[in-house]
């Protein structure tokens, strides 16, 4: 980790508080609404096993837009924020994946 202390490194960030432009706020809003429309429409088309994947993919894209733009993760200098988010997602993934490793293989010979 960094060599300089935690208190003094903050002062350099004081000036760079990012203010989102009105345009970008609205653009993301439109994108989220479009995603919603798309996911509802896709639900009514038979894509076989891909229905679930499409729904989850669109949901993840929407979530990513919210995290990066609305929650300002894209504009922060703090890499720690990203680490916290990635850790949470990683451990959630472990919970889901290893539990499903049990359920999907229970009936294997």
């Amino acid at each position: 980790m960094s060599d300089h202390n935690s208190a003094s490194e903050q002062t350099s960030e004081h000036a760079s508080e990012h203010i989102s432009s009105l345009g970008s706020c609205l653009a993301i809003w439109v994108a989220l609404l479009a995603g919603t429309t798309l996911t509802v429409a896709a639900a009514f088309i038979d894509l076989g096993p891909f229905n679930t994947i499409v729904a989850l993919t669109i949901a993840t894209i929407k979530a990513t837009l919210v995290v990066l733009f609305y929650m300002h993760v894209k504009y922060t200098h703090e890499k720690l924020t990203g680490l916290v988010i990635v850790s949470a997602i990683f451990f959630l993934f472990i919970l889901l994946a290893l539990s499903m490793a049990d359920y999907t293989t229970r009936l294997w010979r």
Partner: protein, 549 residues
């Protein structure tokens, strides 16, 4: 040159004398006072859990059901487990020593969120009250593990109040962990880089990761159990299409990492003690820091080794068995490094060091027997026997409690401003060690021979080992009572402690004993590496100002 705040009467301001009365304690935001509040409540619950343990051991003196009915026995081991796990071992070291020491060790005035720290204590107390209510209202007999559908469908006892107590205490744990992580990231003194942090702090950092990410899963699981009980949902009920194993997956996803919450802080304590009483830097600082984080991460990957014979798929069992072997590696590295630290050190045998020695030996035995259990073939035979009980008590009691006691002795001068009587300290440590081994070693043999856990009746040929175990428990109890007595005694009659009675490295020793409310007379600036026992002359001295009594 540091200058202490001295009142007109010549008395130095400390966190203990800066405000008297109940309100100044119950509404404090000083991390040191909160640590003492926790010390009181945690000791209280230790007594309760210990009381249940004594009843269990008394019952097990005879092969037939002697003192209690089977249903009552179920309540005894359940409440022993729940009180000890959720109200003593998990919060123990972080809430008492972590709270007290982390700001001091990093050179800060307090934790990042002092009011949330106080809230954590109140949540712990509320959870504790719910647990007391459960006990007084007839107890609960699900086993500390709350397995379904027994806990959701078939029991008429106080499952919901017990579960709620654990839920609330869980949030206490989450908030403590959150507070520590932010504190360690944001509140370090100038010059206190990550690679200069004491291993005690690293250990609490790793612990806090587990607390924040693991505890919520058991919290939601408890909510589901309560909902299932109240509304007869079928989430865990096979008769309604549910799977009891889903409960176990969700429960153990937290409860396995929870055991690392229990042990990592204790490992941090041992690192501090071993370095001080060997007068040496830690061997392999980097490896030690990677090990604690590695234990925390890998610890999340192994939970289903508690479910090998519950009905999970063989393929999942194989994966979890392999991962369980991996988690032993960083722990072993730590044991090797402590040993290497002591090699060619100038070792002295004060009480904290005796406890540290005890920890290293007993944790090793506990850890190795964990590998026996990680082995699928072996686990089939010893699962749900006393072998498992012995294994986890070696780690939790031989490990955690030993280190906790060692830490309490090591930092007692800092916390109270008094020295404890060293002779009694050594005696108590010896009694604890003997009592512990006599209690739990026979249990390895009992388990291997087939005595099941959670049974109060057993074949007569097991009696002699059970009697030995109970005798050991009595001795252990004496060993635990002694420090409680002489620590209390020392608050009035003990020798006043200097700032650094052990001549130890670490910022906490660079301030007075006991510390002033804001920890340091002047903001420390760190220019030296951790555990610099070879250059102790270069650490600034502080002017001793006695506390008038």
């Amino acid at each position: 040159m540091a200058t202490a705040v001295v009142s007109d009467s010549g008395e130095r301001e400390t966190y203990l004398n800066s405000g008297y009365g109940l309100k100044s304690w119950l509404l404090t935001v000083d991390h040191k006072r909160i640590a003492l509040l926790y010390l009181m409540s945690i000791t209280f619950f230790f007594f309760i859990g210990g009381f249940f343990a004594l009843l269990i051991r008394l019952e097990l003196l005879t092969p037939g059901g002697g003192l209690v009915q089977s249903d009552t026995y179920n309540k005894l081991f359940t409440m022993h487990g729940q009180v000890m796990v959720f109200f003593f071992v998990i919060p123990g070291v972080p809430a008492v020593l972590g709270n007290f020491l982390i700001p001091l060790m990093i050179g800060a005035k307090d934790l990042a969120f002092p009011r949330i720290n106080l809230l954590s204590w109140y949540l712990y107390v509320i959870g504790g009250i719910l647990m007391i209510y459960t006990i007084l209202n007839g107890g609960v007999d699900t086993g500390w593990t709350f397995y379904t559908p027994l806990s959701t469908e078939f029991l008429k006892t106080n499952v919901i109040s017990a579960a709620l107590g654990v839920f609330v205490a869980g949030f206490s744990s989450i908030l403590t962990g959150l507070n520590f992580i932010v504190t360690i990231h944001r509140m370090r003194a100038p010059g206190m880089t990550w690679n200069r942090l004491p291993l005690f702090v690293w250990a609490h950092y790793a612990t806090s990761i587990i607390q924040v990410l693991g505890t919520p899963v058991v919290a939601i699981t408890i909510v589901l159990v309560a909902l299932e009980r109240l509304f007869h949902l079928g989430v865990f009920n096979p008769a309604l299409g549910g799977d009891p194993l889903l409960f176990q997956h969700l429960f153990w996803f937290y409860s396995h990492p929870a055991v690392y919450i229990m042990i990592l802080p204790s490992m941090g304590i041992v690192s501090e003690i071993v370095c001080c009483f060997s007068r040496k830097r830690i061997f392999g600082y980097k490896a030690m820091t990677l090990a604690v984080v590695g234990i925390a991460v890998i610890g999340f990957l192994v939970w289903a080794h508690h479910m090998f014979v519950a009905g999970i798929s063989l393929y999942a069992a194989l994966i979890f068995s392999l991962l369980s072997y991996f988690v032993a590696v960083p722990s072993a590295i730590k044991v090797f490094n402590w040993t290497a630290t002591m090699y060619k050190g100038s070792i002295t045998y004060q009480t904290p060091m005796l406890y540290a020695f005890g920890f290293i030996g007993l944790f090793t035995i506990g850890g190795l027997t964990g590998l026996f259990l990680a082995c699928l073939g072996m686990d089939v035979h010893v699962h749900d026997t006393y072998f498992v009980i012995a294994h986890f008590h070696y780690i939790m009691v031989g490990g955690m409690v030993m280190a906790y006691l060692g830490g309490m002795h090591f930092w007692w001068p800092k916390i109270s401003g008094r020295m404890y009587p060293e002779g009694w300290g050594k005696l108590a440590a010896l009694i604890v060690f003997i009592g512990f081994n006599l209690t739990f070693f026979p249990q390895f043999i009992l388990g291997y021979m087939g005595m099941p856990r959670r049974y109060h009746m057993y074949p007569p040929e097991f009696q002699i080992l059970n009697v030995l175990s109970t005798a050991g428990a009595t001795i252990l109890a004496v060993g635990y009572l002694l420090p409680m007595i002489y620590f209390t005694w020392s608050m009035r009659y003990g020798d006043p402690a200097p700032s650094n009675p052990w001549n130890a490295a670490g910022l906490e020793w660079q301030t007075h004993s006991p510390p002033p409310t804001f920890n340091f007379d002047e903001q420390p600036v760190v220019t030296w590496e951790a555990y610099n026992y070879d250059e102790m002359d270069e650490i600034p001295e502080i002017r001793e100002v006695p506390v008038a009594n």
